[in-house]
C-alpha cells in the first residue's frame, strides 16, 4: 500500500497533461475527476500509514511516516475541495485550462513535499511550489494580483536561497562523505553531530530563517496577506491550509535533525521567537475591518505562529497539539477560503473592501462565514480550542509558563478581533467604511475572551496532573 505513495504526485501531473490536450470546456471536469482519483489513492496511503505508524522508506528519497501521512491526507482533502470549488471560481473566466493545469501542478508538489525524506529534495520541492503558486497568485491578472505575485516570488526566493546556503554548509561540513543520502532526515540527525558547532548553528539559522520566509512567519510575512488575498480562492485554500504547514513540517524535521548538534534549546528557540512575533503582528490586524480573504490571511499568520510555539515548546503534548492544530486549521481555513466564492458573488467588492451585513441578504452564507471565524477564533467546540489548550499546556509542562501566558493573552486578543469581525460581517447594517471595530462589541467580547483565557489557564494548570493528559496522549499517539 505504501508504494502507492509514489503515484501521488504523478496523478495530478498526468491530469495536467490530459487537461492540456483536452478541450478547454472539459478542463474543470477533468480537474475534479483527477482530484477524486488522487484523493482516493492518498486516503489509502494515509490510512495505511496511520494504522501501522512507523517510518517506511518507500523508495529513494521518499519517506512515509506519521506526520507525512497526516499532511498527505490533509493535502489530498483540501486539493479535492479546491478542485470541486474551482468551477465556481473559473467557470466564466478565460484561460480555464491554464488555471486547472497550474492548480494540478501546484497540488502535485504539495502531495510530494510531505513524502520527501531529504532536506535537499524538500528544498527543491518548496522552491518549485513557489514558482507554480506564484503563477496562480497572478492568475487574476489585475495589477494587485501581479503585485502580490511579485512580492511572493521575490521574498520567498530570497529566503529559500539563504536556506540553500545553509544546506550547502551542512554538505561542506560532512566533507567527502557527502551524497544525497547524507542529507536524509535520519542521516542528518547523526551527521550534523560531525559538524563544527558554530557552522552547524549558522547552517541551522539560515535554513530555519529561509523557511520562515516561506511559512510567512513575522517578520518575513509581508507577502502572505497579499498573496493569499489575491490568489483565486481555491489556490488560497491550498496556500494557507496545505503549503504553510507543509513547509512548517520541513522546518520541524530540520529542528529534529539539528537538535543533537546544536542543542534542543537552541534548536527550538527560533520557533518560539517566530511564533510569538507572528502572533504580535497578526493580532492587531484581526481586530480591523478588512476584506474577507485578507482577514483570513492574517488569521493564517496567527495560526502558523501558534503551531510554531507548539514546536518551540518542545514537549510531547505541545507537539501533539501542534499536529492537531495543523489539521483543524487546514479544514476550517479551507472552508473559509472557499466560502469567498459565494461571498464574492453576493458582494463583488468583498475582495477589496470589508464585507458587511451578509446575514441580512444571505442567512446561510452569513452563518457559514460566522462559523468559520468563530471556529478560527478558537471558541469551543472548535477543535482549535483543544489544540491551543494542548499547546499551552505543553508549554507549561515543558517549563515555559511565560510562553503559555503570552500565547493565551494573544489568543484572547485574537478572539476579540475575529469575533468582532464575525459580528460586523454577518450583522452590520451597511458595509463598513470605518476600519476600527465597533466599540460596542469590544466590551462583551473582551469578557468572553477573558473567560476563555481563564478557562485555558485553569485547564493548563490542572490537567497535567489529572491523568486526563495520559489518556489523551495515549489516544492521539
Amino acid at each position: 500500500m505504501t508504494s502507492l505513495a509514489l503515484l501521488l504526485p504523478l496523478l495530478p501531473v498526468l491530469g495536467a497533461l490530459i487537461v492540456l490536450v483536452a478541450p478547454e470546456t472539459q478542463a474543470l471536469a477533468i480537474g475534479i475527476a483527477v482530484a477524486a482519483v488522487t484523493t482516493c489513492v492518498a486516503t489509502v496511503v494515509a490510512v495505511s500509514a496511520l494504522l501501522d505508524p512507523g517510518r517506511v522508506d518507500v523508495a529513494g528519497p521518499v519517506l512515509l511516516d506519521l506526520p507525512g501521512a497526516v499532511m498527505t491526507g490533509v493535502a489530498a482533502l483540501v486539493g479535492l475541495a479546491a478542485a470541486i470549488a474551482s468551477p465556481g471560481y473559473a467557470r466564466d473566466r478565460p484561460r480555464r485550462r491554464a488555471y486547472v493545469v497550474k492548480l494540478l501542478a501546484f497540488w502535485a508538489v504539495l502531495l510530494a513535499l510531505p513524502l520527501a525524506d531529504n532536506i535537499g529534495v524538500a528544498w527543491v520541492l518548496v522552491e518549485a511550489s513557489t514558482a507554480v503558486s506564484a503563477l496562480l497568485v497572478a492568475f487574476g491578472g489585475t495589477p494587485r494580483a501581479l503585485e502580490a505575485a511579485w512580492k511572493y516570488l521575490v521574498l520567498t526566493t530570497i529566503g529559500l536561497a539563504l536556506a540553500l546556503l545553509g544546506i550547502v554548509i551542512v554538505s561542506a561540513g560532512l566533507g567527502d562523505s557527502v551524497g544525497l543520502a547524507a542529507l536524509d532526515w535520519d542521516s542528518l540527525a547523526t551527521t550534523t553531530r560531525l559538524l563544527d558547532h558554530d557552522a552547524a548553528l549558522v547552517a541551522y539559522v539560515l535554513i530555519i530563517g529561509g523557511l520562515a520566509a516561506k511559512v510567512g512567519w513575522a517578520p518575513a510575512h509581508n507577502w502572505l496577506p497579499d498573496a493569499h488575498s489575491q490568489a483565486p480562492a481555491p489556490a488560497s485554500a491550498l496556500l494557507s491550509a496545505v503549503l504553510l504547514p507543509e513547509v512548517l513540517l520541513v522546518a520541524w524535521r530540520t529542528e529534529v535533525a539539528f537538535a543533537p548538534a546544536i542543542g534542543g534549546h537552541a534548536a527550538r528557540a527560533p520557533f518560539l521567537i517566530f511564533g510569538l512575533a507572528s502572533l504580535v503582528v497578526a493580532v492587531p490586524f484581526l481586530a480591523r475591518a478588512m476584506p474577507w480573504k485578507r482577514l483570513l490571511a492574517y488569521s493564517s499568520l496567527e495560526h502558523m505562529g501558534v503551531v510554531a510555539i507548539g514546536i518551540g515548546a518542545g514537549s510531547r503534548l505541545a507537539l501533539i497539539g501542534a499536529a492537531l492544530h495543523v489539521v483543524s486549521h487546514a479544514v476550517i481555513k479551507c472552508v473559509a477560503f472557499l466560502a469567498a466564492i459565494p461571498l464574492l458573488a453576493v458582494q463583488p467588492d468583498a475582495d477589496s473592501h470589508p464585507p458587511g451585513g451578509i446575514g441580512r441578504t444571505g442567512p446561510r452564507l452569513g452563518a457559514l462565514l460566522a462559523v468559520c471565524l468563530i471556529a478560527l477564533a478558537g471558541l469551543p467546540p472548535s477543535p482549535l480550542f483543544a489544540s491551543e489548550l494542548l499547546i499551552a499546556w505543553g508549554a507549561v509542562q515543558g517549563g515555559q509558563p511565560w510562553v503559555a501566558a503570552a500565547l493565551l493573552f494573544a489568543l484572547a486578543l485574537a478572539f476579540i478581533g475575529l469575533a468582532g469581525s464575525a459580528i460586523d460581517i454577518v450583522a452590520a447594517r451597511t458595509e463598513l467604511s470605518d476600519p476600527r471595530p465597533a466599540l460596542a462589541v469590544v466590551g462583551p467580547l473582551a469578557g468572553v475572551a477573558a473567560a476563555l483565557a481563564v478557562a485555558l489557564v485553569v485547564a493548563a494548570a490542572y490537567l497535567p496532573d489529572s491523568g486526563v493528559a495520559d489518556a489523551i496522549v495515549a489516544a492521539l499517539a
Binding site: G120, V121, W123, V124, E127, A128, T130, A131, V132, A134, L135, A138, G141, P143, R144, L146, E147, A148, A149, W150, K151, L153, V154, T157, I158, A161, L162, L164, L165, I167, V168, I169, S171, A172, G173, L174, G175, D176, S177, V178, G179, L180, A182, L183, L195, D196, D198, A199, V202, A203, P225, D226, S229, Q230, F285, R288, M290, R294
Partner: protein, 196 residues
C-alpha cells in the same frame, strides 16, 4: 576554486550592484555563472552551471529586448550608496559568520560577499529585471559555496537547485512581462498598492 577566481566572481557581483543598465547587469550575472562553471573543474557541475548561465542569460536578454523602457529606471539610491550598503553588509557577514567549513576562507568570504551583493541589488534597484539579476547573483554565491565545499555538494541538489532557479526566473520573467504590460514600465515601485 582558486581565491583569485572566487574574488573575481565577487567583484562582478559588486559591479552588478553599481550598474544601472539592465543589459550590463544581465551580462555580469551570466559571466559570474560561466566563471563558476570554468572554475568548478569537474564536468557535470560545470555543465549544470554553464547550462543554467546560458539559459538564464538568453531568457533575460530576450526579455530586455522585448520590454524596452521609455525612460531609464534610475534606482532610488545612488551607485555610491548602493556600493556602500553592499560592501558594509559583506563586511558585516564576514565579521559575524564563523568558518563554514569550505575549502578556503577566501571562498567563504567571496560567497558571503556575493550573497550580500545579490540581496542589496534586489532591494535597492527599481527595475524588476535588476531584482531578478540580484536573485541570480545571490544564487551564484550559493553555487560558489557549493563548489568550494570539500567533496563538492550533492550533484542531485546542484541540478535541482539549477532547475529550480531557471523555473523561478522564468516565472519571474513572465510576471515581469505582465507588469510591463499593465503599467507600461517594469518599475517595481509601481507595485505598492497593497497595504494595510
Amino acid at each position: 576554486m582558486t581565491p583569485t577566481l572566487a574574488w573575481a566572481v565577487a567583484g562582478l557581483g559588486l559591479v552588478g550592484l553599481a550598474v544601472a543598465r539592465r543589459r550590463t547587469a544581465i551580462a555580469l550575472v551570466t559571466l559570474e555563472a560561466l566563471i563558476l562553471a570554468v572554475a568548478s573543474g569537474e564536468a557535470l557541475p560545470a555543465a549544470i552551471l554553464a547550462g543554467r548561465a546560458a539559459l538564464l542569460g538568453g531568457l533575460l536578454f530576450l526579455t530586455v529586448r522585448r520590454t524596452t523602457e521609455v525612460r531609464p529606471l534610475i534606482p532610488p539610491a545612488s551607485p555610491l550608496v548602493r556600493l556602500s550598503v553592499g560592501i558594509s553588509l559583506a563586511l558585516a557577514l564576514a565579521w559575524l559568520v564563523p568558518s563554514l567549513g569550505l575549502t578556503s576562507r577566501d571562498a567563504e568570504l567571496a560567497a558571503l560577499a556575493l550573497v550580500a551583493f545579490g540581496l542589496v541589488t534586489t532591494i535597492l534597484h527599481r527595475s524588476t529585471l535588476h531584482q531578478i539579476a540580484g536573485i541570480v547573483t545571490l544564487e551564484n554565491g550559493v553555487a560558489l559555496a557549493a563548489l568550494a565545499a570539500p567533496g563538492g555538494a550533492s550533484l542531485a541538489i546542484e541540478l535541482g537547485a539549477a532547475v529550480d532557479l531557471v523555473l523561478v526566473a522564468t516565472v519571474a520573467l513572465v510576471l515581469h512581462d505582465r507588469v510591463f504590460a499593465a503599467f507600461g514600465t517594469s518599475d517595481a515601485t509601481q507595485l505598492g498598492s497593497l497595504r494595510d
